[in-house]
């Protein structure tokens, strides 16, 4: 029987299991089998359990921005290999593979757009590019996105999706946390709003810098959010983690996100918030 097909992810997408493109799609969270066309209509949200599948950056751009248009900037920024890092694979090869797989030069797309007519500086991270990790290029592109907000006096919207800082650039990756957060301090002083959107997963170095610093922090349901990875915590404390630990719902309950927002309401929620916080 071939009701559904586990298939290769399309360009610039999430993991294999999260973006099937067969006729039928099996929910990785609850096992429900749904007609793929229906899933597309539902923006890849499971109708049974509300699990939000990972979707491509381009899908978010379509979904969030006026006419689905982002005027991209800094497209040509690419990583160097300052540490000459090598594990099972050379970092330079890892980069090439990620570029081939995603069709992108790096793990974030950034630029200028409009949301309900309001100009915004926008950036979106891509998990398919080395786990959405933040190295020098991601840090620099986010920094420039913040600077565009500051220079033009327009709101900042960042969609995060990242396992944290990029190990292969060592201490340089760590410093991207400072670079971005310091510029956000300047943005805050100028009273320019910043909405941070967290998607599955947002953890570690990204969560411990710009993702946590929004004037408003919105998160998709059932995403993994946190500082340390669950495996690390489990190993440290030597016991099982409580049900729902480090989920969006947990983060809301503990007071670290403003609102859980289903994908289909993201655009509307951001727009409504910005209208309270920003005037031309």
């Amino acid at each position: 029987m071939e009701w559904f097909r586990k298939s290769k992810p399309p360009l610039d997408s999430g993991t294999k299991k999260n973006i099937p493109e067969g006729l039928w799609t099996k929910c990785t969270s609850c096992g429900e089998i749904v007609y793929s066309k229906k899933m597309e209509e539902l923006l890849w949200v499971c109708p049974n359990c509300n699990f939000h599948f990972r979707i491509s950056s381009h899908k978010y751009i379509e979904l969030l921005l006026d006419n689905g248009v982002l005027e991209t900037y800094d497209d040509n920024l690419t990583s160097k290999d300052p540490l000459k890092f090598k594990d099972s694979k050379k970092y330079t090869d890892r980069l090439k593979d990620a570029q081939k797989k995603t069709g992108l030069k790096e793990g974030v797309i950034s630029g200028m757009a409009h949301m309900d007519g309001m100009p915004v500086s926008f950036a979106i991270m891509n998990f398919a590019f080395i786990g959405g990790s933040m190295g020098s290029v991601v840090g620099e592109k986010v920094a420039r996105a913040i600077e565009r907000s500051i220079e033009r006096g327009v709101p900042l919207v960042i969609v995060s999706c990242s396992g944290g800082a990029r190990m292969q650039e060592g201490i340089l990756s760590l410093m991207q946390m400072t670079k971005t957060s310091a510029l956000l301090a300047v943005l805050a002083e100028k009273k320019i709003p910043y909405v941070s959107i967290l998607t599955n997963p947002t953890t570690a170095g990204v969560m411990a810098s710009y993702a946590s610093l929004g004037d408003a922090i919105l998160a998709e349901p059932k995403a993994l959010l946190g500082f340390a990875g669950p495996r690390v915590i489990q190993q440290t404390i030597g016991q099982d983690l409580p049900e729902g630990f480090q989920s969006t719902e947990f983060f809301l309950d503990k007071g670290f996100v403003d609102k859980i927002v289903e994908r289909k309401y993201l655009r509307d929620t951001v727009v409504r918030l910005l209208k309270f916080m920003w005037r031309k």
Binding site: D74, N76, L77, T78, S79, K80, L83, F85, K86, D87, S88, S136, V137, G139, E140, A143, A165, M167, E169, G170, I171, L172, S173, L174, M175, Q176, M177, T178, K179, S181, A182, L184, A185, V186, A188, E189, T203, A204, G205, M207, A208, S209, Y210, A211, S212, L213, G226, F227, A228, G229, V232, I233, T236, I237, L241, P242, F245, Q246, K254, F256
Partner: protein
Amino acid sequence: MSERPYLEFERPIVELEKKISDMKDFSVGESIELSGEIASMEKKLARLRQDVYSNLTRWQKVQLSRHPKRPYTLDYIELMTTGFVELHGDRYFADDHAVVGGFAHIDGQPVMIVGQQKGRDTKAKLYRNFGMMHPEGYRKALRLFYLAEKFNVPILILIDTPGAYPGIGAEERGQAEAIARNIREMSRLKVPIVIVIIGEGASGGALGIGVGDVTMMLQYSWYSVISPEACSAILWRDAGRAQEAAEALKVTAEDVMGLGLIDKIIPEPPTGAHSNHAAIAATVKQEILQAFDSLKGLSVEQLLEKRIAKYRRMGEFQE
């Protein structure tokens, strides 16, 4: 000197030291003239030290940074400052013992000192949580930073942590938020901030109190985006390959200086900071005073502009 070596590469040195000291005792007790022999052995010892310590691998330097006799934050406070008044608590949740802070005088100048603290024996290690801070620790530090800013007292930070604590309570109370907020707020504090990495500088755990105007590293300290063990566990699913990870990550003071991310390396005594607390404290104190001096002429605007410009430049890419 220590009777038992802690690190394998210290062994030949410690053994020779023991031999020399025994011989000295013997020559005094029995009034036998062994001075020629002793002198030649001391020469040999000096050569041996030079050999071992000039060829340390990155991993060996990491090990030195964790030497159980290495001076910790409170040792530096005792040796470098006077009139330390420790201040506790974040005013929201608890007092985090993994970080200490308070006012003190260094060479007559008032400073706010904040630093991670490790424990030496088992009980103290647990009390200090191995120098791994919880969110309340970052919030306590931030409270003290604001206090310093309010009364225009410069800030001195000593970093020595294997990382921010990865636990359930830490996540519940917002470890990521606490670190992110500190990084942002420290980048705009209106007083000079001098940072010395005295031992371990692990990732966000270090950076959460690690943003400032001058950053210096002790010769055998390390600073990295991830600890060699954790990196090894991720890359090879095996924490045992930390040695390779330390090499790949380029974690030493020399490496970080080479990348232009710190201002200075503070040299340690020939056999590491642990072998002479007084000497290293005196050196560190001089460096700190010089660093504060170098910031003295700047207005608040200049200070902040310089600070942000420094971090803005960090990163290596092409376009």
